[in-house]
Symmetry: C2
Subunit: 700 residues, 2 copies
C-alpha cells in the first residue's frame, strides 16, 4: 500500500467499527468479527451493538457515540431501514470509509433506489469513501484484513480481484482456497453507490503489491472516467476483465439483477480495447490468464516453441497456436544442430519438437537448454504425457531449473491427473503455470503477447482539426429551434463542409426542369437522388440514379426514381431531388458512422458499404476521440481490408483519405454530443482520395 | 459385447498370447502381463518368451509353435525387426487378432512404411484383425481386459474412447483415474495398418455397453467408408470427436508425426457434420460433452431454464445461452404464479430465475419442482454459489431427488472448490453433470440439443438426375486424349447442358465482325467475354463487358476488353471471345464449386459471388453426393442468406433453382472423379430461376 493513499482508510484502516456486530454465529455481524480476527487484523476493532457485552473476546461498544476514537472504517451489517440513519451517525463520528454489507437497495426497486441515492449523496457531501451497499466486503492480505462475510480467506498473492457480483466473490474465494491461488486485494463492489470500478481500478493500479488486476463487471457507470483511469493502469500492469451481459439475453438478465443499464456490447468492447484491458468471455479464462500474467514475463514476440513427448498433443498445440494468431518459431540452424546431435533419430527437431514417448527428464533438459538459447524463440511451452517411461517429477525439476536462468516465459501442460499431480504441484509452486490441456496454455501466451504489444505501442498521437465550429453550432441550433430530428440534406452538407469533409458539389431541385439547369451548371455526368424527410435510406426504395450523361437521361431518371420511391413508400412526402456531380467511377464504397453510447459516449464505426458487411459483422469500432493510431487501426481491422488494399487486381485506395474522414467525424461527435447519430454512406474512395456522397445527421 | 461380433477376437478374446513377455518389470512385455492380471482377465494367458520360466506366476511358453491352443488374440511387444516374422508364425498358429505395441514403422520413414505395408498385407490375406502397430493397446472393461502398456486402468463406464495418439491415451487414462470417469472400451489405433477408425466406430456403435463414443483423430483413411459407418452409428448414439491438424501449422505437425496426409479442414468438417458427428476443438470439451451425453437425456427443444442463487453467474449463463443459440425459456403463466407465491419478493421469477443469496435447499426444491413441470422448459441448469447461507449438500440432494422423477435433462454448476466439493461429488455420483462454470454447462446442453435435432431430422431424400452421361463421357475422353487440363469453354458448356444446367445461349467468335453477326442471331442485349487458355478469371483482367445493346457498342467493347486483358496479361494467348445472351439484369450472383478432396471425395461449396464472401469465410460446404436436405442446407447456411431472401427491399430469389444446380453438380462430381475442380461463377439468380453464365472444369 503506497501510493493508493486515496483508498487508505478503506484498504488499510487503522481501526474498524463493525456496526451490527453480533454474538450469534449465524448472523453476518458475527461472521464479520470472526473473519477480521481470524485473518489477523492488527488494528483496533470496535464491535458496535446496543446489547453491549463481548463478542469473541472483544468488548462491545453500545453505540456509535460511545466509540473511543474515530475509526477509519465502519462496516454496516444492519437491516436496510437503519442504514441511512447509521451513516449520519458515522459521519458525525468522522468515520472516513464505510463498507455496507446490507442489501435491499437499488436492486429491489424504486424505494431502495431512492434510499441508495440518499446514502450516496451523504457520502459525497461528507467526503466518505463508500463501498457497496450490497457488497460482500473487502480483503487486503497485505495487512491481514478480511472484512468480508465470506466463508474462506484467500492466501496472500499478487492478484487483485474486484467484482460487481458478491456471490461470484464467494465462489471465487472458495475456489481459490483449493487451488493455491493467492490474492493481494479482493473487493466486492456491490451496487457501486460510492466507489466505482474506475476508483477501484485506479487504487489497484497504484498498489505495489498487486501485479495483475482481474475484475467482473456488469455495467460501467462513467465510461469516460473508466477509460481514462484504465488506460493509465494498463500502462503499468495487466487488467483482465469479464463483462457480463454482452448478449441480449444477458443484458435482460443484468437489468433485472442490478437495475443497471447494459450498454452496447460494441461500445464496451471498444472501450476495453482502447484502454488496453484484456477482455475474456468466461470465468475459466479469467483465472487461467491471471495465473500466467502473475507468474511469467511477457513474450516479446509471437514465436512459440513447443517441446513435447507425444505427437498428438503437439498437433493440438500447433492448431491452437495458429487459431489464436501465434507462430510456431522456426528454430535457428544452431538450435537444430544441437537437437539433431542430442535427440534420437525418430525425434522431430522441428517445432513442435517431438522428443518422443521414451523421453527422459535428461532429454527434456537438453532440449530445453537449446530452446532457451534459441534466438527465434519468444516463449516456450512444454507438454508432457505420462508415458510409461516419463520421469515426471524430474522433468518438472528440469523446467524449474531452466526457468530460473531463462528470461523467456515458460509454460507447462502436464496432461493427466494422478501420476502427474506431484509434478504439477512442483511447477505451480515454482511459478510455472501448468495447464491440463494445450489449448488454454496457448491462449494465455497469446494474451500475454498482445499485452506486450499494447505496452510497447507507439505513443498515441492526438489529432486536432481545423473546423468552423461556429458555423456548425448555428446549423445545429437552427435545426433544434424548429424541432427537427434529422438535419435536412443541405444542412448536413454544410456541416460536412464545416468539418472539411470532402463532399461533391450538389443542388437541391424541385422539378425536372430545375434539375436539368442544375446539371448544366455542375457539368455532366451527374447523379440524381430523391429527398424526403420520411425516407432514411434512398437506396432501399430505388431513389438513386447514377452516371447520368445527358438532359434526356436526367428527365427519364427523374421520372423513374420518383415513381419508384412513391410506389414503394406511398406514405412518404418527396421534397424534391438532389443533383450531384458524380464521384470517381471506379471507386470502392465505404461507410463511416457514429452513435452516442449511453455509457461510453460517441462510438465510431467503419465498414465497407453494402448489406454484406453488416450481415457478416465485418465492422470495426472505436470510441471517440480517436487518436491517429485508432483511425489507422479501425480502417485496417475489418476482415475485408484486402479489398481496399487492391486484392484481385483492383487498384489500392487511399486509406489516409478514409482516416481523415474518421478523424473529422470523431471531432464532430466530440464537439456535439447532441448529434445522436451520423451516417456517411456511401463514401466513394479511390487511389486519389475520398468523397462523401451522402450523409445523415440525427440530433437528440 | 453382442453384435460387434466382427471384432470379438480382439475385444473379448477367450485366450491371449503375449509375444515378448518379460520377467523384467521395466519391459513393456512385463507391463502387459501385469496389466492383464491386475484387471482380472478371466480367459487363458500365454506369455511367450524363448527364455521360458515363469512370469508373475504364469508358465512361459518358449515359442509360438508350442502354444497349447490357438489363441484368439496375440499381443506383440518385440523389436520392430522381429514383428513381421512373428506375424507369419502367428498366422500359421491361426491366431485371429493381433495387437502390435511395437513402434518404428510408418512414422519413422520409408523402411518402416514398407515393413508396415507388408504386415498389413499379411493380415489382410490371412483374415487377421490387426490393431496398430505403434498402439498403446486396448481395454474392455466388460470382460476385465486391459491389454495396454498404460500405467492405470480406468473404471467401468458407458463411454468408449478411441485415439490415433497413444500418448494421449495414457494422459487420459491418468486423468480419468482421478475423476471418476468410467470407460466401456478404450482403443489406441496407432498407425491403423489394419483396423481403421471406421471399423472401430462400427464395432463401438454395435456395443450395447457403450452409450457414448469419443475419439481423437489426426487423419481419416477411407473417407467414404468412414462417413457411411459413422452415419449409421450416430443414428444410435452420440459420437464426439476431436480432429487434430485442422490448421496449416497443425497439419504440418501431423504429417511429421504420423506420416499421414491431413486433408482440407472444410472436407473433414463437412464429413463430420453430414455424418452427425459432434466435432469439438479441444480436449476439455471432449470430456465435458462425454459426461453430459452419457448421463442425461437429450433436450427435446432449445429452451433452457436457469435457476440460480446469485445474479452474476445467472447473467453469464444467459450470455452463454444466446452465444450458442439456445433460448432462455419463457416459463408458463402457471409456473410464474407458483414462483411468485413461493419466492421472496426480491427474487426474480423470470428466467434466469434468481432465488437470491439466502436461498435454502428447500427454496431450490420448490423452484425446481415448478420448473420441472413447466411445459416451456426443455432443459434445466441449476447454479449455486457458496453464499453464507447456502445449504450445499442439501441442495445437491434436492437436485438428485428431482432428477429421479423428471424426464428433462438437468445440469448443475456448483461454483467454488472446497465448500462445494461434497455436493459436487454427490451430483456426479448420481449422474448429474456438474461443472465449475456456467459456460461449459451451456455448451454441453447446446451440443445435446443439436444431436437431438440430428436424430430427429427428416429422412434424407436421395436425388437422381436426368443426365446425358454418354455425352459427358465423350467430352471428358476427348479432352484427356489431347492432354487438356481445363475443358475449353465450349466443351464446358456442353457438359453443363449434358447435366441440364441452365446456361445462356452463346457463340464463340474470333473477330469483332463475327461477334456482331453472332449478336444479331442471339438478339441484343449481349455480353462479351474474352477466351484464353491462360486466363482463369476473366473478371480479374477486365475481360468482360456486359449489357451491350448495339453493334457499335459491341465493337467498342471488343476493343476495350481485348486490349485491357492483353495489357494486364501480355503472356496470355487470346483465342477469341464469347458472345452470350444477357441473363436477367436484376439478378443476384452466386457461386457453386467443387473440388476432389483426397480423403473424402467431392467437396461442394456455395457462396455469394465476389471477393467479400471468400475473404470473410462466408462459404458453406457439403460432401457429394448431396441429399435434397443437404442442398437445402448448404444454400441456407451462409450467413448472408438474407440477401437472397430479399433483405433490404430486394426481391427474394429462387433458392430452389440454386438447389437444382447444386444437385446437378453433385451428380457430375460423383459421376466423374476425374474432374478435379469445377467452378460455376457467376450464376445469375432471380425470382424466376438461375443462369450459369460462366463455368470452368479442370480435369486430373
Amino acid at each position: 500500500m503506497q501510493s493508493n493513499a486515496k483508498l487508505q482508510p478503506l484498504l488499510s484502516p487503522d481501526s474498524i467499527a463493525i456496526i451490527g456486530a453480533s454474538r450469534n454465529p449465524g448472523k453476518l455481524g458475527h461472521v464479520l468479527v470472526a473473519n477480521l480476527i481470524r485473518a489477523g487484523y492488527k488494528g483496533k476493532l470496535y464491535p458496535v451493538n446496543p446489547a453491549g457485552g463481548e463478542i469473541l473476546g472483544l468488548p462491545v461498544i453500545s453505540s456509535i457515540e460511545q466509540l473511543p476514537s474515530e475509526p477509519d472504517l465502519a462496516i454496516i451489517a444492519l437491516p436496510r431501514e437503519q442504514v441511512l440513519g447509521t451513516m449520519h451517525q458515522l459521519a458525525a463520528a468522522r468515520v472516513r470509509a464505510i463498507s455496507i454489507i446490507s442489501a435491499g437497495f437499488r436492486e429491489t426497486g424504486r424505494d431502495g433506489f431512492e434510499l441508495e441515492m440518499a446514502m450516496a449523496e451523504l457520502a459525497r457531501r461528507k467526503n466518505i469513501l463508500l463501498l457497496g451497499p450490497n457488497s460482500l466486503g473487502l480483503i487486503n492480505t497485505d495487512c491481514g484484513l478480511d472484512a468480508t462475510i465470506a466463508q474462506a480467506s484467500p492466501a496472500k498473492g499478487s492478484i487483485a480481484f474486484f467484482s460487481q457480483s458478491g456471490a461470484l466473490c464467494s465462489a471465487i474465494l472458495d475456489w481459490a482456497d483449493g487451488e493455491s491461488f493467492g490474492f493481494s486485494k479482493f473487493l466486492s463492489l456491490g451496487n457501486k453507490a460510492g466507489l466505482s470500478e474506475a476508483d477501484v481500478l485506479e487504487a489497484l493500479g497504484d498498489d505495489t503489491n498487486t501485479k495483475v488486476i482481474i475484475g467482473y463487471l456488469e455495467s460501467v457507470d462513467d465510461g469516460e472516467k473508466f477509460l481514462r483511469k484504465a488506460r493509465m493502469v494498463t500502462e503499468k500492469k495487466p487488467v483482465i476483465m469479464i463483462k457480463a451481459g454482452t448478449t441480449q439475453a444477458g443484458a435482460r438478465a443484468t437489468s433485472s439483477h442490478t437495475g443497471s443499464m447494459a450498454g452496447a456490447v460494441e461500445a464496451s468492447t471498444a472501450a476495453f480495447q482502447q484502454a488496453g484491458i484484456i477482455q475474456v468471455n468466461d470465468l475459466e479464462s479469467l483465472f487461467d490468464l491471471a495465473r500466467a500474467f502473475s507468474e511469467q514475463p511477457l513474450p516479446q514476440g509471437p514465436n512459440l516453441t513447443v517441446v513435447t513427448n507425444s505427437g498428438g498433443p503437439g498437433i493440438l498445440a500447433a492448431d491452437a497456436c495458429e487459431s489464436v494468431g501465434l507462430h510456431l518459431a522456426r528454430p535457428a540452424q544452431k538450435t537444430l544442430d544441437i537437437l539433431t546431435e542430442a535427440l534420437p533419430p525418430f525425434a522431430s527437431i522441428y517445432n513442435p519438437i517431438d522428443i518422443i514417448g521414451d523421453a527422459s527428464a535428461e532429454r527434456y533438459r537438453t532440449t530445453l537448454n537449446a530452446v532457451a538459447d534459441d534466438e527465434y524463440t519468444d516463449a516456450i511451452l512444454v507438454l508432457l504425457t505420462p508415458t510409461a517411461s516419463a520421469e515426471i517429477e524430474e522433468t518438472a525439476q528440469a523446467l524449474i531449473d531452466m526457468a530460473k536462468k531463462c528470461a523467456k516465459p515458460i509454460f507447462a501442460c502436464f496432461m493427466g491427473e494422478q501420476r502427474i499431480g506431484t509434478g504439477r504441484d512442483m511447477l505451480l509452486a515454482a511459478g510455472i503455470p501448468c495447464y491440463n490441456y494445450p489449448e488454454p496454455a496457448v491462449r494465455a501466451i497469446e494474451a500475454m503477447h498482445a499485452h506486450y504489444r499494447w505496452q510497447n505501442r507507439p505513443y498515441p498521437v492526438e489529432v486536432c482539426f481545423r473546423r468552423d465550429k461556429g458555423k456548425a453550432e448555428r446549423i445545429i441550433t437552427k435545426a433544434r429551434a424548429v424541432g427537427l430530428k434529422e438535419l435536412p440534406f443541405h444542412d448536413a452538407m454544410e456541416m460536412a463542409m464545416a468539418y472539411e469533409l470532402p463532399v461533391p458539389e450538389n443542388r437541391f431541385v424541385r422539378t425536372s426542369d430545375q434539375a436539368v439547369r442544375a446539371a448544366k451548371k455542375l457539368g455532366y455526368p451527374v447523379a440524381l437522388k430523391i429527398v424526403s424527410p420520411h425516407i432514411a435510406n434512398r437506396g432501399d426504395v430505388g431513389g438513386v440514379a447514377l452516371d447520368i450523361h445527358a438532359p434526356h437521361e436526367l428527365r427519364q431518371a427523374w421520372f423513374s426514381i420518383t415513381t419508384r420511391a412513391q410506389r414503394k413508400r406511398p406514405d412518404a412526402y418527396l421534397t424534391g431531388c438532389l443533383v450531384q456531380t458524380m464521384g470517381p467511377t471506379k471507386a470502392r464504397e465505404v461507410v463511416v458512422r457514429f452513435t452516442q453510447d449511453p455509457q461510453f459516449g460517441p462510438l465510431i464505426s467503419f465498414s465497407l458499404a453494402g448489406p454484406a458487411a453488416e450481415m457478416l459483422g465485418d465492422i470495426s469500432y472505436r470510441l471517440a476521440p480517436l487518436t491517429l493510431q485508432d483511425a489507422q487501426e479501425i480502417v485496417r481491422e475489418i476482415q475485408s481490408i484486402p479489398l481496399l488494399r487492391g486484392a484481385r487486381g483492383a487498384e489500392p485506395v487511399s486509406l489516409t483519405a478514409i482516416e481523415d474522414i474518421l478523424l473529422s467525424m470523431s471531432q464532430m461527435a466530440t464537439d456535439f454530443p447532441e448529434i445522436q447519430e451520423a451516417e456517411l454512406n456511401p463514401i466513394l474512395v479511390d487511389a486519389e482520395g475520398a468523397l462523401v456522397t451522402d450523409l445523415r445527421l440525427t440530433i437528440g
